[in-house]
Amino acid sequence: MEALATPKGIIITRSPGDAAGQQWLTVNFGPQHPSTHGVLRLIVDLDGEIIRAAKPVIGYLHTGIEKQMEALRYQQGVVVTDRHDYLSPPINNLAYALAVERLMGVEATPRAQALRVIMCELTRISSHLVYLGTSSLELGALTAFFYCMRERDTILTMNEEISGFRMHTSYIRPGGLMADSTPRWLDMLDQFVTTMPAHIDQYEELLTQNPIWRSRTIGVGILSAADAVEYGGSGPMVRGSGLAWDLRKDEPYSGYEKYDFEVVTEQACDCYARYKVRVREMRESVKILRQALDTLPDGPINVDDRKMLPPPREELDTSMEAVIHHFKLFTEGYSPPAGDVYQAVESARGENGCYIVSDGTHKPRRVKFRSASFNNLQLVERMSVGSMIADLIAIIGTADTVLGDVDR
């Protein structure tokens, strides 16, 4: 389009100012700013210390993930899905895996579903821990960060035990899982579930009654429930405004309907309410983990479909069919029937969805990630206009955006 011929960079027009002709001050905030959780840039119009406009400028972390997905076979794509929302890789894997499975018309085995739920809930806890640690750190409560990172490291070590990788696990794959759980991992999980409630009490001791934390978050970043829905919010952003909307309950997937947990809501609509939602959600996740661990079914972890998943290693020595399937899968891959599908899952940040268009070949025609961060970030301006510049840090923190997820 013609707009491309303009000079490099964003053109900042002069801010309009108020009725008395007083000009507002336009301040550039970021992209290299420690409180932006990555590389978010905001162009802020200030009237004294009061924010009159805050325009997010994104794209600094754009890596063309959706373009890359079109060049990868369906099995290969799962590795890329780890990397957009880098704080919750298994949840992204799950959205992609469920979408591909629905295109292929298969359903994961009960054991795989339970292990998927466990991985997703562990990830939700670890992602909320990063939120809790970093946003309290930014508001001056340094101590909580160290406690949060301690438990997050336990979760990453568990990821390493089950998948060999600490962060980008690629553990959940179309058709099933990368590997079965190990006895050591189950022990670690049991230990984690037993000790985690006391750890959450520790974070709450540090923050819930902390006068500085309370004064920095209570009444800051007000967002009504109607606005949250109207302007595209999801996850803790709407639950902090009193709306009990959770895809795990409302559009259950991967067997979430079997677990007994509560959709946490808070009524206050401010940053403190969203903090409490996230802390209480961690407790609910621990509840789900305990139930999933106690009722973990036996059985295979992969669907019994040789067109989708490779045959067992031992069959390759004796069966020609198995060799052919193996060869076809690793050279060409599998081809879902033509069509499109949208699968949304509840990530730690809200609705993370995966929309896949298949044209009947072994590579997707289009993969779109509907990311919660991208949509929640649009709410930042809405929450921040009228508040003080110092509150902007609290508001960005409460939106809990992952810039990799925003820019994809």
């Binding site: 890359q68 829905v229 595209g232 609705e351 929309y355």
Partner: protein, 164 residues
Amino acid sequence: MSKKKATKSTLEPLTVARGVGAGDDWVTVEVGDLREAMATLKSDGYKAYGFVTCVDHLPAEPRFELIYQVRDMDRKRQMRVRTFLPADQPSAPTVSDIYPPANWDERETFDLFGIDFEGHPDLTRILLPDDWVGHPLRRDYPVGGETVDFSEDHATWQTAPERA
């Protein structure tokens, strides 16, 4: 995922085609009826926004397919609206006044596909730099068409789309 019968009669006169694919409800409308269809859906209860995106069907014609996904939170159902655009100067009316979060998704679709959204308040590139040439998610834009900034041949990337 259980989905009930979704469309109301008010959307019926605008519908060109409808169906269910892999459990998802969808309707196709003419691009001229798009705004009316989206406003109808919103008043029918599909208040929550999903996403807006585009699919490039090169070499088929019509080449571009716009996808609008919305959700009814009370009745727990989703609806996907499709509309098709030609390869030459693809353009559609904006829905960012009906569904405000569509603002950024339409900018992204403009940025990556080159679809013009008429009436959009601020149709500028959102993910790529303002002086970027081409629209990378089009199927005729090569993967690897960009070299790394500050590398020796960094100046030549602008010719990459024509190489395809």
